[in-house]
Subunit: 303 residues, 2 copies
Amino acid sequence: MSILCVGSVAFDSVETPFGTADEVLGGSGSYFSTSASYFSDVSLVAVVGEDFPAEHVKTLEDRGIDLTGLKTVAGGKTFRWQGYYEYDLNQAHTRDTQLNVLMDFDPELPEEYKDIPYVFLANVDPELQMKVLDQVKDPKLVACDTMNFWIEGKPEALKELLGRVDLCVINEGEARQFADEPNLVKAAAKILDLGPSTLIVKRGEYGALMFHEDSVFSAPAYPLEDIFDPTGAGDSFAGGLIGYLAKNGELSEQAMRKAIILGSVMASFNVEAFSLDRLNGLTEDDINARYAEFKRLTHFEDL
Amino acid sequence: MSILCVGSVAFDSVETPFGTADEVLGGSGSYFSTSASYFSDVSLVAVVGEDFPAEHVKTLEDRGIDLTGLKTVAGGKTFRWQGYYEYDLNQAHTRDTQLNVLMDFDPELPEEYKDIPYVFLANVDPELQMKVLDQVKDPKLVACDTMNFWIEGKPEALKELLGRVDLCVINEGEARQFADEPNLVKAAAKILDLGPSTLIVKRGEYGALMFHEDSVFSAPAYPLEDIFDPTGAGDSFAGGLIGYLAKNGELSEQAMRKAIILGSVMASFNVEAFSLDRLNGLTEDDINARYAEFKRLTHFEDL
């Protein structure tokens, strides 16, 4: 089944201890769609400026991503993010954010997008995320991401949004912040009380935790010798996760667990290079082999 | 098979967001021995002062711990640690340390301890740890713990020690510090180069990683709703780990993985109460049930 993603498409300028990248293709929508495209059809709703090159459009199209919903604003400039990472690669430091065309982003779904059953609302203003939900017809799964900026700036809208989604993906620190609760198990319970049936907490190099009804699933991150650039790891994770769920078509807890591991697989590839360089050009064998490595990484026998 | 543990026995005064404990039984040797006693015979080498009450001796003896090696210094005072935790329970803050009888601790093994096949050198001066190794005859497994204090103060002695142990247990931040390498996979490789065949990195609420030859094993921590007091978690972990290895008698990688989960099980119990309150009085059923919960926590199907 296919996926609708609403998110950003950006030029990223990134510095890590291992190199720099200047105005490369980035944004939550780009990472999510590219990652999810290995599992399902993806239709992207996003906005760019006139400066967005045909070559980037082609990069996304080559992954089979439907760009009917990618709007180009005449005379506008594409969203830009500049940031750096120090040795603690869990922590992004922002140098500069130029929202540009994102400032007036008003996501309008092409008619044929409104019946898409799987919906991923990447990290944008929760009011925009809800505007998208107002337009979709009868989605099978609605998932969202968010961040501290909205937790601090629009907590009420965010709470309302959570009442309308099935699955929320959030960073660990932000889960504690949003729930105002240092214990993660309790914080998760508070967030689940707002509406979603599943909460997935991203913990960077420590993996992810899924809270779903009374059960908890702990997924490790893949221990990499070379993490080149963590930008987009969270969205690549969400892409593998929702991508697999849409492909699988069934939302059992076991399917969710596999989906989280596939999300972790995609994130582990993504951080091996700048921009989409590693995500593009993966093969099914690459993905299956790393999934098997996650199995070996976590396996232990019964007592 | 049985275990020799050299470590500290202490009075701990601890403050956490959930309560306080005043001059309760603590110390690496107490936590390790109590935890390991659920799996194997344990003989403890440690030192206390005349102020150490018979009631604490009985607590340890009731767990079947051999205290022939527990020396009481006439007129001496027992080692005391005072500390507190804030909401970040991964970080202990020391208020006061009174080494007292620990200052002149010179571990001398009773003759019958020298043939014990499993040796755990809890976190003390690496020169003392080596002094113990000079006395043991033909151990099957030697494991050690250490901390930043020795990494900073006695790095050369610590390196020499690592050339004489099979297994090293260390905190994540300390592994990076000791190897002078921010990437944990590379840091682990550097430490393994010093001698041990297995390195286990403790990550607090994120679990543990084992590096052994070319393989990595990732163990989660048990997500607890109420962590009362993290004091002794690392030593309880080591107790379950070495306790199971000694019981099992075989050091395959699969046995190591099970041992790490049992270590995590024991640590997860320990943090539920102050001092040894939760570790004492566990049943085999409690341990087996939590082991099964770790299985459920981490299980995912093949693709």
